[in-house]
Subunit: 391 residues, 2 copies
Amino acid sequence: MPDKTVYRSSTFAPVNIAVIKYWGKRDPKLNLPTNSSLSVTLSQSDLRTHTTASCSSLYPTDTLTLNGQNQDISGARTQACLSELRSLRASLEQSTPSLPKLSSLPLKIVSQNNFPTAAGLASSAAGFAALVRSIADLYELPASPIELSKIARQGSGSACRSLFGGYVAWEMGHADDGSDSVAVEVAPASHWPDMRAVILVASAEKKDVSSTAGMQQTVATSTLFKERIEIVVPQRMSEMRRAVEERDFEAFAKWTMRDSNSFHACCLDTEPPIFYMNDASRAAVRVVEAINEKAGERVAAYTFDAGPNAVVYYLEKDEEAVAGVFKSVLGDKEGWEGEKGQKMKASEAPSGTEVAAEKLKSGISRVILTGVGEGPIKTDEMLIDDKGQTL
Amino acid sequence: MPDKTVYRSSTFAPVNIAVIKYWGKRDPKLNLPTNSSLSVTLSQSDLRTHTTASCSSLYPTDTLTLNGQNQDISGARTQACLSELRSLRASLEQSTPSLPKLSSLPLKIVSQNNFPTAAGLASSAAGFAALVRSIADLYELPASPIELSKIARQGSGSACRSLFGGYVAWEMGHADDGSDSVAVEVAPASHWPDMRAVILVASAEKKDVSSTAGMQQTVATSTLFKERIEIVVPQRMSEMRRAVEERDFEAFAKWTMRDSNSFHACCLDTEPPIFYMNDASRAAVRVVEAINEKAGERVAAYTFDAGPNAVVYYLEKDEEAVAGVFKSVLGDKEGWEGEKGQKMKASEAPSGTEVAAEKLKSGISRVILTGVGEGPIKTDEMLIDDKGQTL
């Protein structure tokens, strides 16, 4: 009798937002970066991908759905992840012949995000981290998060950092085969648990240039980029590690803002130039500068990925002085409904930010209140039932 | 009887817009730059400063008015120009005792711009060039434009380039006293007379950071700036000289756009970041890119100074394909009333520029149609009468 079992495993995986940015591949096929990067993993209560991986002889072929939509999995990146995980399982089956032969069964993968799959919300990082982690669990692979990060990296570079919670470095490595280009934990979330973030989501505007295409244009044409990857980022990586280790928010904020600006400067120095920040992004920069001036120290740090959304980091103790200002400016937008938003005190915008406040009001459509969080978490909540049906 | 003569001399001086940008002083007092730069002098029919310099014992003290407003001339920069010119005159008077002793007479200087003194329209370049040239004429100094450029440079760096017409390089020089930091002609306007420019003047918005303050912040804080001044600009200066010499618009356009982007990239890499370009500027970039794509070659080149205004260079033969597109998008703004604007054919905006066109419509208030032009011109049109009264 053929085995009709539906094998299943489920994972929640987090989004991460880099404070030292990944921009540029030295090997586009293996997703090997031109420089190391460092990120904060965000709380999964606010932003996460939930993925159930299953395999069964009942399935006709490999499939992946995200938020109910069938996804194309024929791309080289997804295939690299699936085949590497299958081959690890196959080795396991070879050394322990009693194990069921899962590696040869078709996979059915179902994913759901608890946030809008919008431009620049790092959904691919959470997505590939959840994909890799759920299949690794399904296959009962003994691989460590570091080893899994190597696989997730091939799906989407920054996904490797979502295999860990807290503060995470992606070491660029130097091997041609990518074997040393892995994510490592700099510090767990519990080391510096009061890190918060408010994300200002810009009104929908189609992204001009995908980050994959954009970063390769920068590598090929920017004359300032070499300085960034060879000199600037290596110094900042050590500064940022130290800032995290010593919970030095002043330094954390300084390097976060400078590195975001350095990354966007290299985008602008690309031919043709790439603009991800818009007038609303610039307004967010101004408001953060005014908040810091008023505080007399850096209590807020902006950073921008490959899109106009601002992510503003701050410490819980400064919530009113930072997120409270955005509540007073953007209080009528989506995102304040939850308990965190409701109980937060609004704080008057510093003087001199009137023009910036108007630009934010017209350019920002919603906010997300979040903070540092944990890495992927295995869960019994399945998105596929034991008959192989999507729930 | 005391000499009550009113000595007078008048000059028109042009604006220039750099294609290799000046940004950064190695000596702020002497206005010595961190890198050489190269500009196109624009036609004085469209943008010029008209200045009458006069001196007389009738005047109680040195004065300067611009567009009817009294100007403060006590600043170090204006004083440096005045005292250097006076000392050249004094030497002349010493060697030729028959000359009237103009160097000891109070100066009355009256200036008028034929364009709005708006942020980023290079008015200080034309202003200091006219000031220096009109006083040099008043004093009958035998100084060459190169020598005068050294004096104008101390008033406003880029003013040195307005002492020449056509295509002008400001050689950074290396001497500590600034003696070799001068402007020189790369080619006269007649060498490549069909160079045109359309200036898109952004709706009035107060400039965030003055260029003097901004460039010193960049020198002090940008980590990418060193690469720009040591490696990038020297290479581009030779490329641009060659492009001008060979009338190679394709190369001229390429380096013009790249250098504008490199300069704004360094502004963004400054701490705190400096943003001069806004959403309207980005829209101008998009439209120029679309015009070039449609043409299959670079027929238009954007450049941005320390403000959001776009200057778009093109050749006369491509007027319809370049300025014609801006006429179809911005035809209802000020600036098309003259003969040039009236007879120009509008040309449909390339497809895909709809969003950019909307941003231009809301962010641009007027256009200026101009082209390459001549250097300062002595004129008999006086702004002060022979009694010393302002006309």
